[in-house]
Amino acid sequence: MAHEPDAVPVVGTHDHSSILGILASGRPERIKACAEQVLLELSEISVLKNRTGLAMLPFQDTVEGTSFHLGEVLVAEAHIHVAGVDVEGYGAVVGRDLEHAMAMAVIDAAISAKRASVAIGVLLDAEASFIEEQEKTRLRMVEATRVQMETF
């Protein structure tokens, strides 16, 4: 996951970049359930954006170092404003799940408003562990395919 160079923890040990990454890659149903809970602690929300759109993905050629566009990725994004505390929240996930993006934005806004910190911290820790475990399981299977070729 991408981290800002001067990242500072925002919730527990998680900086803002890793929080957003965990919310985007975590289990959508868990993120949505947490957002429902968090919503109870936020005042009136205005939706600035909740839509799908295209993010162009550039790639760097390893031979001549040329950056080029690999293609576009469909992304669901949500951008909200919470009136009472005057904070904004933003979420974006690869794919078409607008509810997931909105749930991410709600949690992001709650973090800015310093609301529901315990519930959010529990969610982030659980989802970070889940993602890490999934990746580790996959990479243990990948490692099993490491090969030492011999020539005669």
Binding site: M56, F59, L70, Y90, V94, E143, T145
Partner: protein, 359 residues
């Protein structure tokens, strides 16, 4: 070419479409989901050629087109035009890739080692015909290692450059929004390298293979060896309104470098959406071939890039089955007129092949 509007046939046209769709039957979310999970490499191919990454939509396109690839790619490209461009992700560098397969055919001992990953490269290609008689095929489970592979693998070309084996080009640090973009600009020749690589990334797999294969067989000076082949997942890193960069999810990508020896070691490169090894190896070969002074068509950038565009090539091909009555009628009239003129001027008629119908 003369085109003309035609009238009539509305009923037949509607019934023809109904017949096509009724042959395919009901399209349900379950069918689309089944396509997505059981045919991921086909879904990848559609997304790569459509230049739009969204597996659910690619699977839906395949369901609607009944697996007809050019129709599926067209459907996804058409859907793309309904969506706004909301931004640019951060540029993917090789070190960012969550790599599951990484091999080199040119160098046995590479930094980070060789990882076969998910592949049938060394497998017997046998049909499991017993499945057709009701005996399910259940794959053997992977015996996982105790320790995981590193998620990121080192760059082979960086090592080769450090060894002085290949030329070390300066890295292009252009901002994503300033990278030449074929979806916003026409393809002109000589093409900027960014256009060439983007064009190859969205090229039709079969077309790229055919032309790449021709250069491999000898219609060109390229005999490629795979320097490095990777299957990986690339992070889509977006920017939060407050400036924080974060990973919004990952997409499957393939990347290939081929190496060839002429006066010195030279490399070609290609990458695309999805896992599609044949495409990136062929396209990397064409990338290298187009940098050489060879007379063959597959070594000519313009020939390669124009003729491997999937929607333009398939669209141009299939348009020939649509009504060309006026065009063809005028050709027929011209032939008849020449014949009549010849008779009038006393010229002997050309010998007629008896098998040819009289015009």
């Amino acid at each position: 070419m003369a085109y003309v509007a035609t009238r009539g046939g509305e009923h037949a046209i509607e019934q023809a479409e109904r017949l096509f769709r009724s042959d395919l039957g009901k399209i349900s979310a379950a069918r689309v989901s089944e396509i997505k999970t059981s045919l991921p490499y086909l879904v990848d191919r559609v997304m790569g050629e459509a230049s739009l990454y969204e597996p659910d939509l690619a699977a839906l396109a395949l369901a609607q087109a009944g697996g007809e690839l050019s129709e599926a790619v067209l459907l996804l490209r058409a859907y793309r035009t309904t969506q706004p461009r909301i931004g640019y992700a951060k540029t993917i560098e090789q070190a960012d890739l969550f790599t599951v397969r990484r091999i080199s055919a040119a160098f046995k001992d590479i930094p980070g080692g060789q990882i076969l990953g998910p592949t049938l490269d060394y497998s017997h290609r046998l049909l499991r015909v017993e499945v057709l008689t009701g005996e399910d095929y259940v794959p053997e489970p992977v015996i996982a290692s105790e320790t995981p592979a590193p998620a990121e693998q080192p760059s082979l070309t960086a090592w080769q450059k450090a060894q002085g084996l290949i030329a070390d080009h300066a890295t292009d640090d252009v901002a994503p929004e300033n990278i030449p973009d074929l979806t916003r600009e026409p393809l002109l020749f000589p093409a900027p390298r960014a256009h060439k690589l983007q064009s190859l990334a969205r090229a039709e797999t079969g077309g790229v293979l055919a032309l790449g294969y021709s250069t491999m067989r000898g219609y060109g000076d390229i005999h490629p060896t795979v320097n490095e082949l990777r299957l990986a997942e690339a992070p889509v890193r977006l920017r939060h309104p407050n400036g924080t960069v974060f990973n919004a999810g990952r997409v499957r990508v393939s990347q290939a470098e081929i190496i060839t020896k002429s006066a010195k070691l030279e490399l070609g490169f290609s990458a695309t959406f999805g896992w599609n090894e044949v495409k990136v190896i062929s396209a990397a070969t064409l990338d290298r071939a187009s940098a050489q002074d060879a007379p063959h068509a597959a070594s000519t950038e313009e020939f390669v890039l124009y003729h491997t565009e999937p929607v333009e090539s398939s669209g141009f091909c299939i348009h020939f089955k649509l009504p060309h009555y006026v065009t063809f009628q005028s050709s027929l009239d011209a032939i008849r007129r020449v014949k009549a003129d010849n008779v009038e001027n006393g010229k002997a008629p050309e010998p007629v092949n008896e098998k040819e119908p009289a015009l």
